[in-house]
């Protein structure tokens, strides 16, 4: 073990590479597989971690000097572990939410109505078919196809049934549908080399908030290690979500809200007369107001600048950090309490569940899918985000965030009873979003629909490398 690894108390060669760092490739392809022939599938898994020339090699957390043409990682659902032949006792040792699967937790996650699992795209509507998700990261389609072919050929074509392949690609420098710059905030980990090394005002997260088998920041709480130890340790859990984004509805709502706000008696508190000039050349008051609504809902301007550091304009006079900010003195006149960013990570702000501070952090690896929306040529094609939300405990982190903070808003009494304006399970009839103003008054936006719906997904376990060897040996 290198000194680096011993400081971290984990060996980077034991951990899949997509957990603690982002690869920054232009494209991703997720292959949704069902184990067809267990022995062949197990043999192939072994080949993926032993340098076999015909099998894609699992990318680990080890540093590379030259960037490979592609990276390859796998996740297994409960049905996947079962399909590979994990023992009853081993299966039983996994956390309840993982055993229930994402579809089994739908109400907790707000997957209701059209987002309910029975409406999910195939094969996600039948969770037993979603067993292994193989993710290929590369810059070009030729490489994605090459690796996909290697997977399809596994066990002379008998190991898996390929149900579907889901492609995502980065467009326009990390912007996502709805026009926001994404992939800015990520937890930084104690002792793990962080090449970007952006300052951020938050304590570094212990490795145990992502990897199974290490101490967490949660006052001595340790998440159970799935058994046997070699299987559970150094793994992580992942919520894979196919989230469709209704761009037309979102942009239309920005129009409606901007018109409403321009007529609002308090409109100048949001946008002082003439302030639209700072938004860009020839930007109208209405266009500026649209950007204000989009920013308040998110917590960042669409160009990524955080509201906490630049409350009134997306183009602050002096450059501000994109990552190093907090909700000082619990102020919400910049970033509202109910904004997506603040709900998803309240940082140092006061929260109701004080015991949970800093404990519900997630690594987010999301890539858009579907063509960029062109307002000049509106269409009904599906587009959205292929999201991976990674953590050591789905119950303690991902679900806790979704059911109490994103929806419901328990973390602050001023938003309790409302859902995240961007991501929440909203209904036009009941939705509301408060924008606190410097004068102490609030502007209340209402009547917005649900903008993001769930089209599929699965809870997967991202096994460590020794765990993959163990599964291969079953």
């Amino acid at each position: 073990m290198s000194t680096f690894a011993s400081r971290n108390a984990f060996d980077p060669a034991d951990v899949q590479g997509n957990i603690l760092r982002g690869y920054h490739y232009g494209r991703v392809r997720h292959l949704i597989l069902e184990v067809h022939h267990a022995a062949a599938a197990r043999r192939w898994l072994g080949q993926c971690v032993s340098g076999h020339p015909d099998a894609p090699q699992i990318t680990t957390e080890e540093h590379w000097t030259t960037r490979p043409a592609s990276c390859f990682n796998i996740g297994l659902t409960y049905f996947g572990l079962k399909g590979l032949g994990a023992s009853k006792a081993s299966l039983a040792s996994f956390p309840t939410e993982f055993k229930a699967g994402m579809a089994g937790r739908s109400v907790k996650l707000g997957d209701i109505g059209e987002s309910a699992p029975n409406y999910w795209a195939e094969p996600f509507d039948d969770p037993s078919k979603v067993q292994l998700i193989a993710s290929i990261h590369a810059d070009d389609l030729v490489e994605l196809d090459r690796v996909e072919q290697q997977v399809v050929n596994a066990g002379s074509g008998a190991a898996f049934i390929l149900h579907t392949a889901r492609d995502g690609w980065n467009f326009d420098t990390d912007h996502v549908h709805f026009g926001y710059k994404d992939s800015i905030s990520q937890p930084r980990f104690i002792g793990v080399h962080d090449p970007d090394n952006h300052a951020d005002g938050q304590p570094q997260a212990p490795i145990g908030s992502m990897l199974i088998g290490y101490p967490t920041e949660y006052q001595g709480i340790r998440y159970n290690i799935p058994q046997p130890d070699v299987l559970g340790r150094n793994g992580a859990f992942n919520a894979f979500r196919i989230l469709a984004q209704d761009v037309a509805a979102f942009e239309a709502y920005l129009d409606t809200a901007a018109d409403e706000l321009l007529d609002h008696p308090l409109s100048e508190e949001l946008l002082a007369l003439g302030a639209e000039a700072s938004f860009g050349p020839d930007v109208s008051r209405r266009e500026a107001m649209r950007e204000i609504v989009a920013a308040k809902m998110c917590g960042r301007w669409r160009n990524g600048v955080p509201l906490a550091l630049s409350p009134t304009t997306p183009n602050p006079e002096h450059e501000v950090s994109l990552t190093n900010f907090n909700y000082e003195d619990n102020d919400a006149t910049g970033c509202p309490y109910g904004a997506h960013l603040r709900r998803a990570n309240p940082r140092e702000a006061a929260i109701v569940q004080r015991a949970a501070r800093h404990t519900r952090r997630l690594v987010r690896r999301g890539v858009p899918y579907g063509k960029a929306f062109d307002p000049a040529k509106p269409d009904n094609e599906e587009r959205g985000l292929l999201g991976n939300f990674i953590c050591a405990s789905l119950g303690g982190q991902f679900e806790a965030l979704m059911c109490d903070w994103i929806n419901l808003g328990l973390e602050d009494p001023q938003i309790t009873g409302s859902n995240d304006p961007i991501l929440g399970a909203n209904f036009r009839e009941t939705s509301w979003f408060h924008i606190p103003l410097k004068s102490g008054k609030n502007i209340n936006l209402q009547g917005f629909p649900r903008f993001i719906s769930t089209r599929g997904g699965a809870y997967t376990f991202l096994p460590g490398i020794p765990a993959i060897r163990y599964l291969a040996s079953l």
């Binding site: 998440y223 015991a355 679900e399």
Partner: protein
């Protein structure tokens, strides 16, 4: 309608509410049904639900059987709570979502009865984060508790353990069925509930598995408000 069949009807009707029939139903018929139609014991506590109001002031009624079922055992349990009371209250305060909580010894059970906002697992996890070390001395006195200690290091198992010991909540809809004299019969309340034939079989089977139950989601004096909202409105600081 012939006189004969109305005589039969009235016999059957009388039989249904007779002591003999009730005895037969409770001791023979229900176990027979349960054998024919196996039913899983539903988890205790409230079900996952979307409307915000239903996620506030949810009820927990934990029944934890004491290992030592003598006065000495009960005294030990009383002592375990009493000697840690300040820490327990401070911890509950830091969980932030608890309206009230009380410990009651009923027969030979330590009962913890509380009302909390939001998700059950989050509540228990935060509770353990705050209080696990103190609460372990209570868990040690409970049947099956030893396997859970230290709770901080068995958090997933402990949440399930608690969930299994939270009293089954008869859904509001089923409670309404009982209230209004059950399905298909708009019969007056008076003849409804004690007539076993009119009660939903699924409910009876569930109560066979879950002998303790909470009827519906309970009464709330200030519906739909979280602890923090109340504190905030009263200017108490949350």
């Amino acid at each position: 309608m012939s006189g004969n069949s109305s005589w039969m009807n009235s016999l059957v009707n009388r039989m249904a509410t007779s002591k003999f029939f009730n005895y037969l139903a409770g001791h023979v018929l229900v176990p027979y049904w349960a054998w024919r139609t196996p039913v899983y014991a539903q988890h205790g506590g409230p079900r996952a639900t979307i409307p915000p109001g239903d996620n506030m002031q949810r009820m927990m009624n934990l029944i934890l059987p004491l290992k030592d079922k003598t006065a000495v055992g009960r005294a030990k349990a009383a002592l375990a709570i009493a000697s840690n009371l300040d820490e327990i209250y401070a911890g509950l305060d830091n969980v932030g979502t608890v309206h009230f909580a009380r410990f009651v010894i009923i027969e030979n059970n330590m009962c913890m009865i509380s009302s909390y906002d939001g998700d059950f697992s989050n509540y228990i996890r935060d509770f353990v984060a705050q209080l696990g070390t103190v609460f372990d001395s209570v868990v040690a006195l409970i049947e099956g508790g030893d396997d859970m200690i230290p709770t901080k290091e068995n958090i997933d198992a402990f949440i399930n353990w608690v969930h299994d010991r939270d009293v089954y909540q008869i859904p509001d809809t089923a409670t309404d069925l009982l209230r209004y004299g059950t399905i298909g019969h708009s019969a007056a309340k008076a003849d409804g509930p004690d007539d076993l034939r009119l009660m939903p079989r699924a409910l009876i089977l569930q109560l066979h598995k879950n002998p303790n139950s909470l009827l519906g989601s309970g009464y709330r004096g200030y519906p739909g408000l979280s602890v923090a909202q109340i504190r905030h409105k009263m200017g108490l600081g949350w």
